[in-house]
């Protein structure tokens, strides 16, 4: 897994983002131990935005988010995730798409 994480970052490095400083568009519900949907996000997110912290909780760093919506599909119904689009104009801007 270690060399995979390097690869995802390398992939995201090519992308163009307009960062909305201090505003996050996705929130993870506070938890002690992650639910099954939250654990699924560790592997399903194509930008690897979800990682386990040292307390074993699922943490989100949305900087590289490509706004695919996968985590919403997996985590919104159970209330694990609150999902919105970034403010207009912010977030990923594809050059090719």
């Amino acid at each position: 897994m270690t060399d995979l994480s390097v690869r995802v970052e390398d992939k995201l490095y090519q992308n163009r983002y307009q960062v909305d400083a201090g505003k996050v568009h996705i929130k993870v519900r506070e938890h002690d131990t992650p639910t099954a949907p939250l654990r699924a996000l560790l592997t399903a997110c194509p930008a690897r935005c979800y990682e386990l912290n040292d307390k074993g909780q699922v943490e989100l760093t949305a900087d590289g988010c490509i706004e695919c919506g996968t985590c919403r599909i997996i985590g919104e119904a159970s209330g694990d995730i609150e999902w919105n689009y970034p403010r207009g104009g912010y977030g990923i801007s594809f050059k090719f798409g």
């Binding site: 592997t43 695919c68 090719f96 798409g97």
Partner: protein, 435 residues
């Protein structure tokens, strides 16, 4: 936001939204189109094959200035195991016609071009604006939208929901369901740049000719999904997509999947030495006919991926999006011309028009396909490709084993992997779903 009233507000500047906004504006209606991206196309990802016929019905002379990459003269279908592929390919010089039928495009560039056409036709297009909700009156009729701009409420007679597969607005207003994990695929994609001469040499092409490869098999690790390789002028679009529910249950990662696809011995030589300039991901509606929601109501219509109008079997989406956008606009125009109100009853004209079009007819034809492929994914995407590959290799490898013995062994491997009942059942199921 804008102290004006519009005939129609179109949410989204993708294929469906642009088709609708263009068609409405062309007919003289006062149109506002809102797009959350920095520019039209900033948030959009596609393979991408453009089907000329459906665009021609909207902009007949698009070939004069649309950013088209290559016209397709050849299609390859690959069934893959880990080290080989069994292929079928069709190439015809007939596709080198004066007005080619299919082109590859680069989606962001295409959307920018289409958006300019929408502006030229007279619509007011505002980007960098996320629509955050629908405005409904006391009777539940949609009368406008809220946006994330200051004083961001705008009103119109009708709202065209062209917001794409996620459909946040529609699902939050209760007009459609949130997509379920087994009815939507996640695709990841990369853009590989190479000199055009290299692409032409590797794919056996001249000038603007292009090839597409669709690939299924063990590359999806037993999940329901497919890989694709599309040739553009100076780059190759390469990607792979599988059902979200499969990612969820297998723990496979999308980036690992695309890496393995790239390293496959049949794929690696095609992209060798390329420079990757973008990594993207997007959802694709895969629920088919049975997942289509209500398409219209008081003061609103739903078009494109937002309405699940996507033919996953044929990898057609943008043409269904464009056609539904155009038909919705034509229906709105007819209601407007009669000076009738935009009620559900009057807007049901859109449903009638789309039912009569190839969009619904095609989706209806394959109504049982998604369920079949999803429940039988291990057979169709893992077992059969491996068996076929084994059979091909045995057929071709000359090693002194008598042919009759080889054929018997091949048959035995199919039967022991799936049993006679399993094989017969799969054949019947596939035939039924295809019918």
């Amino acid at each position: 936001m804008i102290d004006e009233r519009f005939d129609a507000i179109v949410v989204g500047a993708g294929m469906a939204g642009n088709a609708a906004a263009y068609t409405l504006a062309e007919r003289g209606l006062k149109v506002l189109q809102l797009e959350r991206g920095e520019y039209a196309g900033a948030k959009n990802v596609q393979g991408a094959i453009l089907y000329a016929d459906m665009l021609e019905k909207i902009i007949p002379n698009f070939r004069e200035d649309a950013p088209l990459e290559r016209h397709l003269v050849e299609q390859r279908f690959w069934m893959m195991d880990d080290r080989s592929h069994t292929g079928m390919q069709y190439r015809s010089d007939d596709f080198n016609e004066e007005k080619p039928n299919r082109y590859t495009i680069i989606r962001t560039q295409f959307d920018k071009w289409f958006s300019q056409k929408v502006r030229d036709a007279g619509a007011l297009v505002i980007c960098e604006t996320t629509v955050t909700g629908l405005v409904q009156n006391g009777e539940g009729r949609v009368i406008g939208v809220k946006t994330d701009r200051a004083d961001g409420e705008v009103h119109a007679d009708v709202v065209v929901l062209a917001e794409g597969v996620s459909g946040l607005l529609g699902s939050r207003a209760g007009l459609r369901d949130r997509p379920e994990a087994d009815k939507v695929a996640l695709a990841v994609k990369e853009m590989h740049f190479l000199p055009s001469e290299t692409i032409e040499a590797r794919f056996n092409l001249k000038g603007d000719e292009g090839v597409v490869i669709e690939a299924a098999g063990t590359i999806s690790q037993g999940m329901t999904g497919m890989g694709f390789i599309y040739t553009n002028k100076e780059c190759i679009s390469l990607g792979i997509g599988c059902l979200v529910s499969d990612f969820q249950s297998t723990g496979e990662t999308p980036y690992d999947l695309i890496e393995r696809f790239k390293k496959h011995p049949s794929v690696a030589p095609l992209i060798e030495g390329s420079e990757v300039k973008e990594y993207s991901a997007h959802l694709i509606p895969e629920g088919g006919y049975k997942a289509i929601p209500q398409l219209y109501g008081d003061g609103w219509v739903m078009v494109g991926d937002a309405a699940q109008l996507n033919n996953a079997i044929h990898r057609e989406g943008s043409n269904l999006a464009m056609t539904s956008g155009r038909l919705a606009a034509e229906a709105i125009f007819q209601v407007k011309s009669r000076r009738d109100p935009m009620t559900a009853e009057n807007l049901s004209l859109y449903k009638k028009m789309i039912d009569d079009s190839f969009v619904m007819k095609d989706l209806k034809k394959y109504k049982d396909m998604p369920a079949l492929l999803h429940t039988q994914s291990k057979n169709f995407f893992l077992t059969y490709p491996q068996l076929v590959s084994k059979a091909m290799q045995d057929f071709l490898r000359v090693d002194g084993t008598p042919k009759a013995q080889k054929e018997k062994a091949t048959l035995k491997s199919f039967v022991s992997a799936r049993s006679w009942w399993g094989l017969a059942g799969d054949a019947v199921r596939l035939a039924r779903a295809w019918r």
